[in-house]
Symmetry: C2
Subunit: 310 residues, 2 copies
Amino acid sequence: MSMPKHVVIRDVAPRDGFQSWPEFVPTDKKIEIIEAIRAAGVGEIEITSFVNPKAVPQMRDAAELMKTVQHGQGCIYAALVPNPKGAQLAIEAGADKLCVVISATDVHNQANVRRTVSESLSALDDIFSLAGKKSIPVIGGIGVAFGCPFQGDVPPEDVIKIARAYIENGAESIMFADTTGMATPPRVTRLVESFKQQFTDTKLGLHFHNNRGTAMANLYAALMAGADIFDTALGGIGGCPNVPDAAGNLPTADVVYMLEDMGIETGVDLEAVIEAALLMEKILGQKLPGQVMKSGPREPERAAKVCGTH
Amino acid sequence: MSMPKHVVIRDVAPRDGFQSWPEFVPTDKKIEIIEAIRAAGVGEIEITSFVNPKAVPQMRDAAELMKTVQHGQGCIYAALVPNPKGAQLAIEAGADKLCVVISATDVHNQANVRRTVSESLSALDDIFSLAGKKSIPVIGGIGVAFGCPFQGDVPPEDVIKIARAYIENGAESIMFADTTGMATPPRVTRLVESFKQQFTDTKLGLHFHNNRGTAMANLYAALMAGADIFDTALGGIGGCPNVPDAAGNLPTADVVYMLEDMGIETGVDLEAVIEAALLMEKILGQKLPGQVMKSGPREPERAAKVCGTH
Protein backbone atom coordinates (compact mmCIF):
# COMPACT_ATOMS: atom_id res chain seq x y z
CA MET A 1 0.00 0.00 0.00
CA SER A 2 1.32 3.39 -1.01
CA MET A 3 -1.41 5.70 0.15
CA PRO A 4 -0.71 9.39 -0.26
CA LYS A 5 -0.57 11.66 2.81
CA HIS A 6 -2.26 14.47 0.94
CA VAL A 7 -4.70 14.45 -1.95
CA VAL A 8 -6.09 17.17 -4.18
CA ILE A 9 -9.87 17.53 -4.33
CA ARG A 10 -11.19 19.01 -7.58
CA ASP A 11 -14.82 20.01 -7.23
CA VAL A 12 -16.59 19.64 -10.58
CA ALA A 13 -20.14 20.47 -9.44
CA PRO A 14 -20.44 23.74 -11.40
CA ARG A 15 -19.46 21.92 -14.60
CA ASP A 16 -20.54 18.28 -14.30
CA GLY A 17 -23.50 19.02 -12.05
CA PHE A 18 -24.91 22.12 -13.69
CA GLN A 19 -24.35 20.93 -17.28
CA SER A 20 -27.05 18.33 -16.77
CA TRP A 21 -29.29 20.26 -14.40
CA PRO A 22 -32.81 20.51 -15.87
CA GLU A 23 -32.72 24.31 -15.68
CA PHE A 24 -30.04 26.88 -16.35
CA VAL A 25 -28.47 27.88 -13.04
CA PRO A 26 -28.18 31.70 -13.09
CA THR A 27 -24.60 32.99 -13.30
CA ASP A 28 -24.80 34.88 -10.01
CA LYS A 29 -26.00 31.71 -8.26
CA LYS A 30 -23.17 29.73 -9.82
CA ILE A 31 -20.73 32.33 -8.47
CA GLU A 32 -22.26 32.15 -4.99
CA ILE A 33 -21.81 28.36 -4.97
CA ILE A 34 -18.28 28.50 -6.44
CA GLU A 35 -17.33 31.04 -3.79
CA ALA A 36 -18.67 28.77 -1.02
CA ILE A 37 -16.67 25.83 -2.37
CA ARG A 38 -13.51 27.96 -2.57
CA ALA A 39 -14.03 29.34 0.93
CA ALA A 40 -14.22 25.75 2.23
CA GLY A 41 -10.62 25.24 1.11
CA VAL A 42 -11.09 23.30 -2.12
CA GLY A 43 -7.96 23.94 -4.17
CA GLU A 44 -9.41 23.50 -7.63
CA ILE A 45 -12.89 23.88 -9.10
CA GLU A 46 -13.96 22.95 -12.62
CA ILE A 47 -16.36 25.84 -12.97
CA THR A 48 -17.60 25.44 -16.55
CA SER A 49 -17.02 23.99 -19.98
CA PHE A 50 -16.47 25.78 -23.26
CA VAL A 51 -18.74 23.69 -25.44
CA ASN A 52 -21.35 24.41 -28.08
CA PRO A 53 -24.07 26.39 -26.23
CA LYS A 54 -26.67 24.83 -28.53
CA ALA A 55 -25.63 21.36 -27.35
CA VAL A 56 -25.24 22.30 -23.67
CA PRO A 57 -27.23 25.49 -23.00
CA GLN A 58 -26.56 25.25 -19.26
CA MET A 59 -22.94 26.21 -20.00
CA ARG A 60 -23.78 29.15 -22.26
CA ASP A 61 -22.42 31.63 -19.70
CA ALA A 62 -18.96 29.99 -19.67
CA ALA A 63 -17.00 33.09 -20.75
CA GLU A 64 -18.93 35.47 -18.51
CA LEU A 65 -18.57 33.14 -15.53
CA MET A 66 -14.83 32.63 -16.04
CA LYS A 67 -14.30 36.39 -16.37
CA THR A 68 -16.41 37.26 -13.33
CA VAL A 69 -15.02 34.88 -10.70
CA GLN A 70 -12.17 36.41 -8.73
CA HIS A 71 -8.95 34.64 -9.72
CA GLY A 72 -5.78 34.54 -7.63
CA GLN A 73 -7.34 33.63 -4.28
CA GLY A 74 -5.51 30.33 -3.94
CA CYS A 75 -8.11 28.35 -5.87
CA ILE A 76 -7.63 27.19 -9.44
CA TYR A 77 -10.62 27.79 -11.71
CA ALA A 78 -10.49 25.20 -14.46
CA ALA A 79 -12.56 24.78 -17.60
CA LEU A 80 -13.39 21.67 -19.55
CA VAL A 81 -12.62 22.02 -23.25
CA PRO A 82 -13.46 19.46 -25.92
CA ASN A 83 -11.44 20.98 -28.79
CA PRO A 84 -9.07 23.81 -29.85
CA LYS A 85 -11.92 26.28 -30.26
CA GLY A 86 -13.07 25.63 -26.71
CA ALA A 87 -9.49 25.96 -25.49
CA GLN A 88 -9.13 29.32 -27.27
CA LEU A 89 -12.33 30.66 -25.69
CA ALA A 90 -11.39 29.37 -22.23
CA ILE A 91 -7.95 30.97 -22.41
CA GLU A 92 -9.41 34.28 -23.59
CA ALA A 93 -11.84 34.21 -20.67
CA GLY A 94 -8.96 33.72 -18.23
CA ALA A 95 -9.18 30.04 -17.25
CA ASP A 96 -6.42 29.05 -14.81
CA LYS A 97 -6.29 25.51 -16.14
CA LEU A 98 -7.82 23.46 -18.95
CA CYS A 99 -9.19 19.96 -18.80
CA VAL A 100 -9.34 18.26 -22.19
CA VAL A 101 -11.45 15.13 -22.48
CA ILE A 102 -11.16 12.39 -25.06
CA SER A 103 -13.24 9.24 -24.71
CA ALA A 104 -11.30 5.97 -24.80
CA THR A 105 -13.63 4.47 -27.42
CA ASP A 106 -14.41 5.75 -30.90
CA VAL A 107 -18.13 5.17 -30.47
CA HIS A 108 -18.35 7.28 -27.28
CA ASN A 109 -16.03 9.97 -28.60
CA GLN A 110 -18.15 10.20 -31.75
CA ALA A 111 -21.32 10.53 -29.65
CA ASN A 112 -19.66 13.14 -27.47
CA VAL A 113 -17.67 15.35 -29.87
CA ARG A 114 -18.32 13.82 -33.31
CA ARG A 115 -14.72 12.77 -33.79
CA THR A 116 -12.85 9.48 -33.65
CA VAL A 117 -10.21 9.07 -30.94
CA SER A 118 -7.50 9.59 -33.57
CA GLU A 119 -9.12 12.80 -34.76
CA SER A 120 -9.27 14.12 -31.19
CA LEU A 121 -5.66 13.09 -30.60
CA SER A 122 -4.49 15.01 -33.66
CA ALA A 123 -6.13 18.16 -32.31
CA LEU A 124 -4.07 17.96 -29.11
CA ASP A 125 -1.15 19.75 -30.68
CA ASP A 126 -3.28 22.86 -31.25
CA ILE A 127 -4.78 22.81 -27.77
CA PHE A 128 -1.43 22.38 -26.01
CA SER A 129 0.16 25.09 -28.21
CA LEU A 130 -2.57 27.57 -27.29
CA ALA A 131 -2.25 26.73 -23.59
CA GLY A 132 1.54 26.65 -23.72
CA LYS A 133 1.78 30.21 -25.02
CA LYS A 134 0.02 31.43 -21.88
CA SER A 135 1.66 28.84 -19.60
CA ILE A 136 -1.72 27.39 -18.74
CA PRO A 137 -1.56 23.82 -17.43
CA VAL A 138 -3.66 21.17 -19.15
CA ILE A 139 -5.22 18.06 -17.59
CA GLY A 140 -5.50 15.13 -19.97
CA GLY A 141 -8.90 13.64 -19.28
CA ILE A 142 -9.92 10.23 -20.62
CA GLY A 143 -13.64 9.42 -20.67
CA VAL A 144 -15.21 5.94 -20.37
CA ALA A 145 -11.80 4.73 -19.10
CA PHE A 146 -13.32 1.83 -17.15
CA GLY A 147 -16.11 0.83 -19.51
CA CYS A 148 -18.14 2.32 -22.33
CA PRO A 149 -21.95 2.29 -22.37
CA PHE A 150 -21.86 1.50 -26.10
CA GLN A 151 -18.80 -0.75 -26.46
CA GLY A 152 -18.65 -2.43 -23.04
CA ASP A 153 -15.19 -3.28 -21.74
CA VAL A 154 -12.37 -0.93 -22.70
CA PRO A 155 -8.87 -2.43 -23.10
CA PRO A 156 -6.47 -0.70 -20.66
CA GLU A 157 -4.01 -0.27 -23.56
CA ASP A 158 -6.50 2.03 -25.31
CA VAL A 159 -6.59 4.25 -22.22
CA ILE A 160 -2.83 4.18 -21.72
CA LYS A 161 -2.30 5.12 -25.38
CA ILE A 162 -4.30 8.33 -24.94
CA ALA A 163 -2.52 9.07 -21.65
CA ARG A 164 0.82 8.74 -23.44
CA ALA A 165 -0.26 11.20 -26.14
CA TYR A 166 -1.30 13.70 -23.48
CA ILE A 167 1.96 13.33 -21.60
CA GLU A 168 4.04 13.70 -24.75
CA ASN A 169 2.14 16.94 -25.38
CA GLY A 170 3.02 18.20 -21.90
CA ALA A 171 -0.09 17.45 -19.81
CA GLU A 172 0.31 18.46 -16.15
CA SER A 173 -1.73 15.44 -15.03
CA ILE A 174 -3.94 12.66 -16.34
CA MET A 175 -7.56 12.08 -15.32
CA PHE A 176 -9.33 8.75 -15.80
CA ALA A 177 -13.10 9.26 -15.90
CA ASP A 178 -15.64 6.53 -15.19
CA THR A 179 -18.18 8.45 -17.22
CA THR A 180 -21.19 6.20 -16.69
CA GLY A 181 -20.18 4.38 -13.51
CA MET A 182 -18.94 1.09 -14.94
CA ALA A 183 -15.81 0.73 -12.79
CA THR A 184 -15.32 -1.73 -9.96
CA PRO A 185 -12.31 -1.83 -7.62
CA PRO A 186 -10.21 -4.46 -9.47
CA ARG A 187 -10.64 -2.58 -12.76
CA VAL A 188 -9.47 0.58 -11.02
CA THR A 189 -6.50 -1.09 -9.35
CA ARG A 190 -5.40 -2.64 -12.65
CA LEU A 191 -5.54 0.59 -14.66
CA VAL A 192 -4.06 2.84 -11.98
CA GLU A 193 -1.18 0.42 -11.31
CA SER A 194 -0.52 0.06 -15.03
CA PHE A 195 -0.38 3.84 -15.40
CA LYS A 196 1.84 4.31 -12.34
CA GLN A 197 4.32 1.73 -13.61
CA GLN A 198 4.65 3.44 -16.98
CA PHE A 199 4.44 7.10 -16.00
CA THR A 200 6.20 7.58 -12.71
CA ASP A 201 6.39 11.38 -12.88
CA THR A 202 2.86 12.28 -13.92
CA LYS A 203 0.14 12.88 -11.38
CA LEU A 204 -3.03 10.85 -11.80
CA GLY A 205 -6.59 11.84 -10.99
CA LEU A 206 -9.80 9.87 -10.96
CA HIS A 207 -13.35 10.94 -11.74
CA PHE A 208 -15.99 8.49 -10.56
CA HIS A 209 -19.73 8.39 -11.13
CA ASN A 210 -21.94 6.40 -8.80
CA ASN A 211 -24.37 4.86 -11.31
CA ARG A 212 -23.89 1.41 -9.81
CA GLY A 213 -23.04 2.26 -6.22
CA THR A 214 -19.33 1.48 -6.48
CA ALA A 215 -17.84 5.00 -6.67
CA MET A 216 -16.50 5.21 -3.10
CA ALA A 217 -15.06 1.68 -3.25
CA ASN A 218 -13.42 2.66 -6.54
CA LEU A 219 -11.93 5.75 -4.93
CA TYR A 220 -10.55 3.64 -2.09
CA ALA A 221 -9.00 1.22 -4.59
CA ALA A 222 -7.47 4.13 -6.55
CA LEU A 223 -6.10 5.62 -3.36
CA MET A 224 -4.42 2.37 -2.40
CA ALA A 225 -2.91 2.14 -5.86
CA GLY A 226 -1.37 5.59 -5.42
CA ALA A 227 -3.71 8.07 -7.14
CA ASP A 228 -3.73 11.45 -5.46
CA ILE A 229 -6.21 13.69 -7.28
CA PHE A 230 -9.97 13.11 -7.05
CA ASP A 231 -12.85 14.78 -8.83
CA THR A 232 -15.84 15.18 -6.55
CA ALA A 233 -18.96 17.32 -6.74
CA LEU A 234 -20.64 19.36 -4.05
CA GLY A 235 -23.69 17.44 -2.80
CA GLY A 236 -22.93 14.53 -5.13
CA ILE A 237 -24.62 16.39 -7.98
CA GLY A 238 -24.00 15.24 -11.54
CA GLY A 239 -25.13 12.79 -14.09
CA CYS A 240 -27.76 12.63 -16.68
CA PRO A 241 -30.71 14.94 -17.28
CA ASN A 242 -32.91 12.04 -18.38
CA VAL A 243 -32.20 9.81 -15.39
CA PRO A 244 -31.89 12.25 -12.48
CA ASP A 245 -31.58 9.64 -9.75
CA ALA A 246 -29.31 7.28 -11.58
CA ALA A 247 -25.90 8.86 -11.45
CA GLY A 248 -23.94 11.57 -9.71
CA ASN A 249 -20.34 12.30 -8.85
CA LEU A 250 -18.86 11.41 -5.48
CA PRO A 251 -20.11 13.99 -2.94
CA THR A 252 -17.25 16.29 -1.90
CA ALA A 253 -18.16 16.20 1.80
CA ASP A 254 -18.36 12.37 1.83
CA VAL A 255 -14.89 12.09 0.27
CA VAL A 256 -13.37 14.73 2.56
CA TYR A 257 -14.94 13.02 5.57
CA MET A 258 -13.57 9.60 4.63
CA LEU A 259 -10.09 10.82 3.71
CA GLU A 260 -9.69 12.94 6.83
CA ASP A 261 -10.82 10.00 8.99
CA MET A 262 -8.11 7.97 7.26
CA GLY A 263 -5.53 10.60 8.17
CA ILE A 264 -5.18 11.88 4.60
CA GLU A 265 -5.12 15.64 4.26
CA THR A 266 -7.39 17.38 1.76
CA GLY A 267 -7.03 21.00 2.86
CA VAL A 268 -10.83 21.18 2.90
CA ASP A 269 -12.85 22.24 5.97
CA LEU A 270 -15.53 19.56 6.34
CA GLU A 271 -18.03 21.75 8.17
CA ALA A 272 -17.65 24.50 5.58
CA VAL A 273 -18.10 22.15 2.65
CA ILE A 274 -21.24 20.70 4.29
CA GLU A 275 -22.58 24.24 4.63
CA ALA A 276 -21.75 24.89 0.97
CA ALA A 277 -23.66 21.74 -0.05
CA LEU A 278 -26.68 22.79 2.01
CA LEU A 279 -26.51 26.24 0.39
CA MET A 280 -26.50 24.65 -3.07
CA GLU A 281 -29.42 22.41 -2.13
CA LYS A 282 -31.34 25.51 -1.11
CA ILE A 283 -30.44 27.36 -4.32
CA LEU A 284 -31.36 24.42 -6.54
CA GLY A 285 -34.47 23.57 -4.52
CA GLN A 286 -33.85 19.83 -4.66
CA LYS A 287 -32.48 17.16 -2.31
CA LEU A 288 -28.98 16.07 -3.27
CA PRO A 289 -27.48 12.62 -2.75
CA GLY A 290 -24.59 13.59 -0.43
CA GLN A 291 -24.72 11.62 2.82
CA VAL A 292 -22.41 13.49 5.20
CA MET A 293 -24.39 16.67 4.47
CA LYS A 294 -27.36 14.83 6.00
CA SER A 295 -25.73 12.79 8.79
CA GLY A 296 -23.02 15.23 9.78
CA PRO A 297 -19.39 14.40 10.61
CA ARG A 298 -18.35 11.60 12.90
CA GLU A 299 -18.56 13.54 16.17
CA PRO A 300 -20.83 11.75 18.65
CA GLU A 301 -23.05 14.75 19.39
CA ARG A 302 -23.83 15.13 15.67
CA ALA A 303 -24.06 11.44 14.92
CA ALA A 304 -26.52 10.88 17.76
CA LYS A 305 -29.13 12.80 15.79
CA VAL A 306 -29.31 9.85 13.44
CA CYS A 307 -30.89 6.95 15.22
CA GLY A 308 -30.22 3.32 14.45
CA THR A 309 -31.35 0.67 16.82
CA HIS A 310 -29.79 -2.44 15.28
CA MET B 1 -4.95 -9.92 -0.19
CA SER B 2 -6.96 -12.97 0.74
CA MET B 3 -10.24 -12.31 -1.03
CA PRO B 4 -12.81 -15.09 -0.79
CA LYS B 5 -14.03 -16.83 -3.97
CA HIS B 6 -17.55 -17.04 -2.65
CA VAL B 7 -19.44 -14.87 -0.18
CA VAL B 8 -22.79 -15.23 1.57
CA ILE B 9 -25.33 -12.46 1.08
CA ARG B 10 -27.81 -12.04 3.94
CA ASP B 11 -30.69 -9.81 2.93
CA VAL B 12 -31.98 -7.92 5.95
CA ALA B 13 -34.54 -5.71 4.19
CA PRO B 14 -37.63 -7.31 5.81
CA ARG B 15 -36.13 -6.71 9.26
CA ASP B 16 -33.84 -3.67 9.09
CA GLY B 17 -35.81 -1.95 6.35
CA PHE B 18 -39.37 -2.59 7.48
CA GLN B 19 -38.68 -2.04 11.20
CA SER B 20 -38.14 1.65 10.45
CA TRP B 21 -40.61 2.04 7.60
CA PRO B 22 -43.13 4.79 8.46
CA GLU B 23 -46.03 2.39 7.96
CA PHE B 24 -46.59 -1.24 8.86
CA VAL B 25 -45.92 -3.36 5.78
CA PRO B 26 -48.77 -5.91 5.57
CA THR B 27 -47.70 -9.49 6.26
CA ASP B 28 -48.77 -10.74 2.82
CA LYS B 29 -46.68 -8.01 1.16
CA LYS B 30 -43.72 -8.93 3.32
CA ILE B 31 -44.11 -12.53 2.19
CA GLU B 32 -44.30 -11.48 -1.48
CA ILE B 33 -41.04 -9.55 -1.11
CA ILE B 34 -39.30 -12.29 0.91
CA GLU B 35 -40.32 -14.82 -1.76
CA ALA B 36 -38.87 -12.59 -4.52
CA ILE B 37 -35.57 -12.29 -2.63
CA ARG B 38 -35.44 -16.05 -2.09
CA ALA B 39 -36.26 -16.75 -5.73
CA ALA B 40 -33.32 -14.54 -6.75
CA GLY B 41 -30.99 -16.98 -5.03
CA VAL B 42 -30.25 -15.17 -1.77
CA GLY B 43 -29.25 -17.88 0.70
CA GLU B 44 -30.31 -16.18 3.91
CA ILE B 45 -32.91 -13.54 4.77
CA GLU B 46 -33.38 -11.86 8.14
CA ILE B 47 -37.14 -11.68 7.85
CA THR B 48 -38.14 -10.18 11.19
CA SER B 49 -37.20 -9.48 14.78
CA PHE B 50 -38.83 -10.74 17.95
CA VAL B 51 -38.88 -7.52 19.90
CA ASN B 52 -41.42 -5.69 22.02
CA PRO B 53 -44.30 -4.86 19.62
CA LYS B 54 -44.96 -1.68 21.56
CA ALA B 55 -41.42 -0.49 20.86
CA VAL B 56 -41.33 -1.67 17.22
CA PRO B 57 -44.93 -2.09 16.00
CA GLN B 58 -43.72 -2.76 12.43
CA MET B 59 -42.46 -6.15 13.66
CA ARG B 60 -45.65 -7.09 15.52
CA ASP B 61 -46.38 -9.88 13.01
CA ALA B 62 -43.05 -11.62 13.68
CA ALA B 63 -44.50 -14.97 14.79
CA GLU B 64 -47.16 -15.06 12.08
CA LEU B 65 -44.61 -14.17 9.40
CA MET B 66 -42.08 -16.76 10.56
CA LYS B 67 -44.79 -19.44 10.66
CA THR B 68 -46.24 -18.55 7.25
CA VAL B 69 -43.09 -18.43 5.09
CA GLN B 70 -42.29 -21.76 3.48
CA HIS B 71 -39.17 -23.15 5.14
CA GLY B 72 -36.88 -25.76 3.60
CA GLN B 73 -36.54 -24.23 0.13
CA GLY B 74 -32.80 -23.73 0.37
CA CYS B 75 -33.08 -20.29 2.00
CA ILE B 76 -32.47 -19.68 5.68
CA TYR B 77 -35.08 -17.50 7.37
CA ALA B 78 -33.40 -15.81 10.31
CA ALA B 79 -34.81 -13.66 13.09
CA LEU B 80 -33.15 -10.98 15.14
CA VAL B 81 -33.59 -11.49 18.87
CA PRO B 82 -32.49 -9.07 21.60
CA ASN B 83 -32.98 -11.36 24.61
CA PRO B 84 -33.97 -14.88 25.79
CA LYS B 85 -37.67 -14.08 25.54
CA GLY B 86 -37.26 -13.06 21.89
CA ALA B 87 -35.22 -16.20 21.26
CA GLN B 88 -37.93 -18.37 22.80
CA LEU B 89 -40.63 -16.79 20.62
CA ALA B 90 -38.49 -17.02 17.47
CA ILE B 91 -37.75 -20.70 18.08
CA GLU B 92 -41.42 -21.46 18.74
CA ALA B 93 -42.33 -19.75 15.47
CA GLY B 94 -39.83 -21.91 13.57
CA ALA B 95 -36.90 -19.57 12.88
CA ASP B 96 -34.09 -21.35 10.99
CA LYS B 97 -31.42 -19.18 12.62
CA LEU B 98 -31.18 -16.51 15.30
CA CYS B 99 -29.20 -13.31 15.23
CA VAL B 100 -28.50 -11.89 18.66
CA VAL B 101 -27.31 -8.28 18.86
CA ILE B 102 -25.40 -6.65 21.67
CA SER B 103 -24.09 -3.13 21.24
CA ALA B 104 -20.39 -2.66 21.90
CA THR B 105 -20.99 0.30 24.23
CA ASP B 106 -23.04 0.42 27.40
CA VAL B 107 -24.70 3.68 26.43
CA HIS B 108 -25.96 2.33 23.09
CA ASN B 109 -26.96 -1.05 24.54
CA GLN B 110 -28.90 0.75 27.28
CA ALA B 111 -30.69 2.88 24.67
CA ASN B 112 -31.42 -0.19 22.58
CA VAL B 113 -32.36 -2.91 25.07
CA ARG B 114 -32.12 -1.18 28.48
CA ARG B 115 -29.23 -3.37 29.62
CA THR B 116 -25.52 -2.85 30.08
CA VAL B 117 -23.20 -4.91 27.88
CA SER B 118 -22.44 -7.18 30.86
CA GLU B 119 -26.12 -7.73 31.51
CA SER B 120 -26.67 -8.70 27.86
CA LEU B 121 -23.64 -10.98 27.96
CA SER B 122 -24.95 -12.83 31.00
CA ALA B 123 -28.20 -13.55 29.14
CA LEU B 124 -26.28 -15.31 26.34
CA ASP B 125 -26.23 -18.60 28.21
CA ASP B 126 -30.04 -18.76 28.17
CA ILE B 127 -30.32 -17.81 24.50
CA PHE B 128 -27.72 -20.34 23.37
CA SER B 129 -29.27 -23.08 25.56
CA LEU B 130 -32.68 -22.52 24.02
CA ALA B 131 -31.24 -22.53 20.50
CA GLY B 132 -28.94 -25.46 21.23
CA LYS B 133 -31.84 -27.71 22.28
CA LYS B 134 -33.32 -27.32 18.80
CA SER B 135 -29.92 -27.22 17.03
CA ILE B 136 -30.65 -23.73 15.76
CA PRO B 137 -27.52 -21.80 14.79
CA VAL B 138 -26.94 -18.39 16.35
CA ILE B 139 -25.17 -15.39 14.83
CA GLY B 140 -23.39 -13.20 17.36
CA GLY B 141 -24.11 -9.65 16.24
CA ILE B 142 -22.23 -6.67 17.68
CA GLY B 143 -23.79 -3.24 17.19
CA VAL B 144 -21.92 0.09 16.91
CA ALA B 145 -18.75 -1.96 16.33
CA PHE B 146 -17.05 0.84 14.40
CA GLY B 147 -18.29 3.85 16.34
CA CYS B 148 -21.12 4.76 18.65
CA PRO B 149 -23.33 7.79 18.09
CA PHE B 150 -23.27 8.52 21.83
CA GLN B 151 -19.76 7.48 22.87
CA GLY B 152 -17.79 8.12 19.67
CA ASP B 153 -14.86 5.78 19.02
CA VAL B 154 -15.21 2.20 20.23
CA PRO B 155 -12.02 0.37 21.32
CA PRO B 156 -11.58 -2.77 19.17
CA GLU B 157 -10.93 -4.75 22.38
CA ASP B 158 -14.50 -4.02 23.52
CA VAL B 159 -15.81 -5.55 20.28
CA ILE B 160 -13.47 -8.53 20.42
CA LYS B 161 -14.48 -9.21 24.02
CA ILE B 162 -18.13 -9.62 23.00
CA ALA B 163 -17.13 -11.74 19.99
CA ARG B 164 -15.18 -14.04 22.32
CA ALA B 165 -18.21 -14.45 24.60
CA TYR B 166 -20.37 -15.37 21.62
CA ILE B 167 -17.82 -17.87 20.33
CA GLU B 168 -17.42 -19.48 23.74
CA ASN B 169 -21.18 -19.89 23.78
CA GLY B 170 -21.08 -21.63 20.39
CA ALA B 171 -21.99 -18.89 17.89
CA GLU B 172 -21.97 -20.12 14.28
CA SER B 173 -20.60 -16.75 13.09
CA ILE B 174 -19.92 -13.21 14.25
CA MET B 175 -21.44 -10.09 12.71
CA PHE B 176 -19.93 -6.63 13.16
CA ALA B 177 -22.57 -3.95 12.58
CA ASP B 178 -21.81 -0.34 11.70
CA THR B 179 -25.16 0.67 13.13
CA THR B 180 -25.06 4.37 12.30
CA GLY B 181 -22.52 4.43 9.48
CA MET B 182 -19.42 5.56 11.36
CA ALA B 183 -16.93 3.12 9.79
CA THR B 184 -14.24 4.00 7.29
CA PRO B 185 -12.00 1.48 5.50
CA PRO B 186 -8.99 1.57 7.84
CA ARG B 187 -11.25 1.05 10.87
CA VAL B 188 -12.78 -1.94 9.08
CA THR B 189 -9.43 -3.41 8.08
CA ARG B 190 -8.10 -3.07 11.63
CA LEU B 191 -11.06 -4.76 13.32
CA VAL B 192 -11.52 -7.52 10.73
CA GLU B 193 -7.81 -8.38 10.75
CA SER B 194 -7.74 -8.37 14.53
CA PHE B 195 -10.70 -10.75 14.60
CA LYS B 196 -9.26 -13.04 11.92
CA GLN B 197 -5.97 -13.33 13.80
CA GLN B 198 -7.68 -14.37 17.02
CA PHE B 199 -10.53 -16.51 15.73
CA THR B 200 -9.32 -18.43 12.72
CA ASP B 201 -12.23 -20.88 12.61
CA THR B 202 -15.21 -18.56 12.99
CA LYS B 203 -16.88 -16.97 10.00
CA LEU B 204 -17.21 -13.20 10.07
CA GLY B 205 -19.97 -11.07 8.61
CA LEU B 206 -20.30 -7.31 8.22
CA HIS B 207 -23.37 -5.11 8.31
CA PHE B 208 -22.81 -1.62 6.94
CA HIS B 209 -25.03 1.44 6.88
CA ASN B 210 -24.37 4.20 4.40
CA ASN B 211 -25.02 7.26 6.59
CA ARG B 212 -21.75 8.85 5.49
CA GLY B 213 -21.33 7.39 2.01
CA THR B 214 -18.58 4.93 2.95
CA ALA B 215 -20.50 1.64 3.09
CA MET B 216 -19.31 0.17 -0.21
CA ALA B 217 -15.69 1.18 0.45
CA ASN B 218 -16.03 -0.45 3.87
CA LEU B 219 -17.35 -3.64 2.28
CA TYR B 220 -14.39 -3.67 -0.11
CA ALA B 221 -11.97 -3.23 2.80
CA ALA B 222 -13.67 -6.04 4.73
CA LEU B 223 -13.54 -8.30 1.69
CA MET B 224 -9.81 -7.70 1.29
CA ALA B 225 -9.30 -8.49 4.96
CA GLY B 226 -11.04 -11.84 4.50
CA ALA B 227 -14.66 -11.37 5.60
CA ASP B 228 -17.09 -13.52 3.67
CA ILE B 229 -20.62 -12.78 4.88
CA PHE B 230 -22.33 -9.48 4.10
CA ASP B 231 -25.65 -8.08 5.24
CA THR B 232 -27.36 -6.14 2.47
CA ALA B 233 -30.92 -4.95 1.98
CA LEU B 234 -33.10 -5.08 -1.10
CA GLY B 235 -33.16 -1.60 -2.67
CA GLY B 236 -30.81 -0.24 -0.02
CA ILE B 237 -33.74 0.19 2.35
CA GLY B 238 -33.05 0.66 6.03
CA GLY B 239 -32.17 3.23 8.57
CA CYS B 240 -34.04 5.66 10.66
CA PRO B 241 -37.69 6.66 10.56
CA ASN B 242 -36.89 10.25 11.53
CA VAL B 243 -34.19 10.80 8.91
CA PRO B 244 -35.49 8.85 5.91
CA ASP B 245 -32.79 9.95 3.44
CA ALA B 246 -29.87 9.73 5.81
CA ALA B 247 -29.12 6.06 6.13
CA GLY B 248 -29.81 2.71 4.53
CA ASN B 249 -28.11 -0.63 4.23
CA LEU B 250 -25.99 -1.54 1.23
CA PRO B 251 -28.35 -2.33 -1.66
CA THR B 252 -28.31 -6.07 -2.41
CA ALA B 253 -28.16 -5.59 -6.19
CA ASP B 254 -25.26 -3.12 -5.95
CA VAL B 255 -23.25 -5.55 -3.83
CA VAL B 256 -24.05 -8.55 -6.03
CA TYR B 257 -23.14 -6.51 -9.13
CA MET B 258 -19.78 -5.45 -7.71
CA LEU B 259 -18.84 -8.86 -6.32
CA GLU B 260 -19.78 -10.72 -9.51
CA ASP B 261 -17.77 -8.21 -11.58
CA MET B 262 -14.84 -8.98 -9.26
CA GLY B 263 -15.25 -12.70 -9.95
CA ILE B 264 -16.62 -13.46 -6.49
CA GLU B 265 -19.64 -15.76 -6.44
CA THR B 266 -22.74 -14.82 -4.49
CA GLY B 267 -25.22 -17.38 -5.83
CA VAL B 268 -27.61 -14.50 -6.50
CA ASP B 269 -29.13 -13.80 -9.92
CA LEU B 270 -28.54 -10.08 -10.51
CA GLU B 271 -31.45 -9.57 -12.90
CA ALA B 272 -33.82 -11.34 -10.51
CA VAL B 273 -32.70 -9.31 -7.51
CA ILE B 274 -33.15 -6.09 -9.50
CA GLU B 275 -36.70 -7.21 -10.35
CA ALA B 276 -37.29 -7.96 -6.67
CA ALA B 277 -36.10 -4.47 -5.72
CA LEU B 278 -38.39 -2.88 -8.32
CA LEU B 279 -41.27 -4.98 -6.98
CA MET B 280 -40.57 -3.75 -3.45
CA GLU B 281 -40.37 -0.15 -4.66
CA LYS B 282 -43.80 -0.60 -6.24
CA ILE B 283 -45.25 -2.18 -3.09
CA LEU B 284 -43.83 0.52 -0.80
CA GLY B 285 -44.67 3.32 -3.23
CA GLN B 286 -41.38 5.12 -2.69
CA LYS B 287 -38.08 5.46 -4.57
CA LEU B 288 -35.31 3.44 -2.97
CA PRO B 289 -31.59 4.31 -2.95
CA GLY B 290 -30.27 1.26 -4.84
CA GLN B 291 -28.26 2.29 -7.91
CA VAL B 292 -28.00 -0.86 -10.02
CA MET B 293 -31.81 -1.17 -9.89
CA LYS B 294 -31.84 2.18 -11.73
CA SER B 295 -28.82 1.91 -14.02
CA GLY B 296 -28.98 -1.81 -14.75
CA PRO B 297 -26.05 -4.22 -14.92
CA ARG B 298 -22.85 -3.54 -16.77
CA GLU B 299 -23.99 -4.80 -20.19
CA PRO B 300 -23.52 -2.13 -22.86
CA GLU B 301 -27.07 -2.24 -24.19
CA ARG B 302 -28.43 -1.56 -20.69
CA ALA B 303 -25.76 0.90 -19.68
CA ALA B 304 -26.30 2.96 -22.82
CA LYS B 305 -29.68 3.99 -21.46
CA VAL B 306 -27.83 6.13 -18.94
CA CYS B 307 -26.20 8.98 -20.72
CA GLY B 308 -23.06 10.72 -19.57
CA THR B 309 -21.22 13.02 -21.87
CA HIS B 310 -18.13 13.79 -19.83
